[in-house]
């Protein structure tokens, strides 16, 4: 039995790591989305975290933990710097500005050869990231998010999500709340970038482009932006899907797309809204209201 477990882990450890890593990223985005910030900055944040932490471990010889923290802090700083002006923009302009940020970071990474190695990237990065690091990070972020949602801060955020003009008029400092969430999102994505860099021996600018940012958004949205476990569900589903469909080499892309479309169409509130559907069918109206944690009532 233990041999079987050993073999299972050896065969699938990378998938497990990726699921955890993507869950972490998903929470970074979940925080941003919970205040209606549709952020495409993930790729840029992860790049900051990854390059900074690798520079710390490989050039400066720092231990792993401070390097990850340095990467996360740099990324959080980046979030603060771009967030302060960009958060004034409404809706889609915010999305486009964060997209421009990610692309600028990618192009700088491509050209700053002495630090980033350009397109060739950085190879032979020591593999410090262990599965338990990732698992711990996910548990911590899950706990923090859970606590946050029950706090005054969380209720203010929920109000902003409903309608930021009304929230503002009720005395919520919308800008400060959104900025702090955006910085937190940057911190988490930076940490994820740092952990990812020390997981796979190699980083390069192509890891952190628009594709990365869009994927990161898909996790929490597909899982359900109103549910605490939505991001994990979305991240795991999206990570496992290409592996699960591996039997069909030819039609894999098409099947993958079709499956996602089907989920979106049948569960327009995200995968976790499956629970809501069931509750609604039992007819418990009160439960249904409580099952919308996005509202200020929870």
């Amino acid at each position: 039995m233990s041999a079987w477990i050993g073999q299972f882990f050896a065969s699938y450890s990378n998938i497990i790591d990726l699921c955890l890593l993507n869950s972490l990223i998903a929470y970074g985005l979940f925080l941003a989305l919970s205040a209606n910030m549709f952020s495409l900055a993930t790729g840029g944040f992860m790049a900051l975290g990854a390059y900074c932490s690798v520079y710390c471990t490989m050039e400066l010889g720092w231990p792993f933990a401070p390097a990850v923290i340095a990467g996360s802090l740099l990324s959080a700083l980046g979030a603060a710097l771009i967030g302060a002006p960009v958060l004034r923009l409404r809706g889609d302009y915010f999305m486009l500005a964060t997209f421009a940020f990610t692309e600028v970071v990618r192009v700088i990474a491509l050209n700053w050869d002495s630090v980033t190695g350009g397109a060739i990237g950085i190879v032979s990065i020591p593999r410090y990231t262990e599965t338990w690091h990732l698992a711990l990070a996910v548990v911590v972020i899950l706990y923090v998010t859970y606590t946050l949602r029950r706090s005054y801060f969380g209720r203010a955020i929920a109000a902003i999500k409903q309608d930021d003009v009304v929230a503002q008029s009720m005395g919520v400092n919308v800008f400060a709340h959104r900025l702090s969430l955006f910085i937190a999102s940057g911190f988490i994505c930076g940490a994820a970038g740092a952990l990812a860099a020390h997981l796979n021996y190699f980083i390069g600018p192509s890891d952190f482009g628009l594709l990365r940012s869009v994927d990161a958004l898909i996790y929490p949205i597909l899982g359900g932006v109103n549910s605490l476990v939505g991001p994990v569900v979305g991240a795991i589903f999206t990570t496992i899907l290409p592996e699960a469909l591996r039997f069909s080499n030819q039609l894999r892309e098409i099947l993958m797309g079709a499956l996602v479309v089907a989920i979106v169409l049948y569960l327009p509130g995200g995968a976790m809204s499956v629970l809501n559907l069931r509750r609604r069918r039992t007819g418990a109206r009160g439960v249904e209201l409580a099952a919308q944690p996005g509202s200020a009532k929870t």
């Binding site: 989305l33 002006p85 923009l89 692309e103 192009v107 869009v214 949205i221 797309g257 079709a258 327009p268």
Partner: protein, 294 residues
Amino acid sequence: MSTFLQQLVNGISLGSTYAVFAMGCTLIFGVLNIVNMAQGAFFMGGAYFGLEAARLGLPAPLVLVVALIGGGLLGVVSELVIFRTLRARGGHRWMGLVASLALARMMVGLAQEVFGTQVQRYPASGVLEISWEIGGVRIQLLQVVILVVSLMLMALLAFVLQRSRTGRAIRTVAFSEDVARIVGVPVGRTILITFFLAGALAGASGMLLGNLFNVVSPFMGEQMLVKGLTVIILGGLGNVPGAVAGGFVLGLIEVFSVAYVSSSFRDAIGFGLIFFILLVKPNGLFSGFVERRA
């Protein structure tokens, strides 16, 4: 001097393909306020529709029509299958992004299955290889043709939006769906027509770009989508004349940053500028004549 003029020609020619594509994007993203990531896939689809038509030996204008209609139909399909269903079921706007991205992925996969992964080209045509040299500046007949066609498409769209009944309906829906319903505009049909127009523009630009640069591949839409988003920022969301101007501006920025700064910083300059524009003039460079949106 002749180098400068040549770069100007290069920029305008590149910009015209961006402009046509961006007009479609701005109709969907800005006017209808829908995030449709499959727009790049319609662009790719149009290029393949055109390619097949050209291989059948159809004359060039008909090839363009095939690409227009093909791209338009893809747009209609995406609205019917995804966006309309999502609206009916009360899905969040963000879900449209996820679903359209998945749709784009399916279309790329399908194109790979049907046409193969390899890059293909439009059949060689002697007429289109003609070029002139005027004062040290090379101008291809194809560039001129494409510029003219692009301008015609832009004029046509402007006419439809400003003068026709459909155009008024689209602008009303863009202002507010509820208002549109109250004044008796058939909202569903109007949105469908807008999707057709946006898809047709994407398809046409796919065919034009495929011809001009001799490249048709299943993956050609991805980069174009990035360009489209960029142009929308430059021109202002939902601003159709802004998208046209933004397309030319982006083409010129790209070419001149290669010419006078460095080719490796081309995109950094482009995106840096965009970031700057968003901070200083978030409604786009051409917000003077911005159309109203909800």
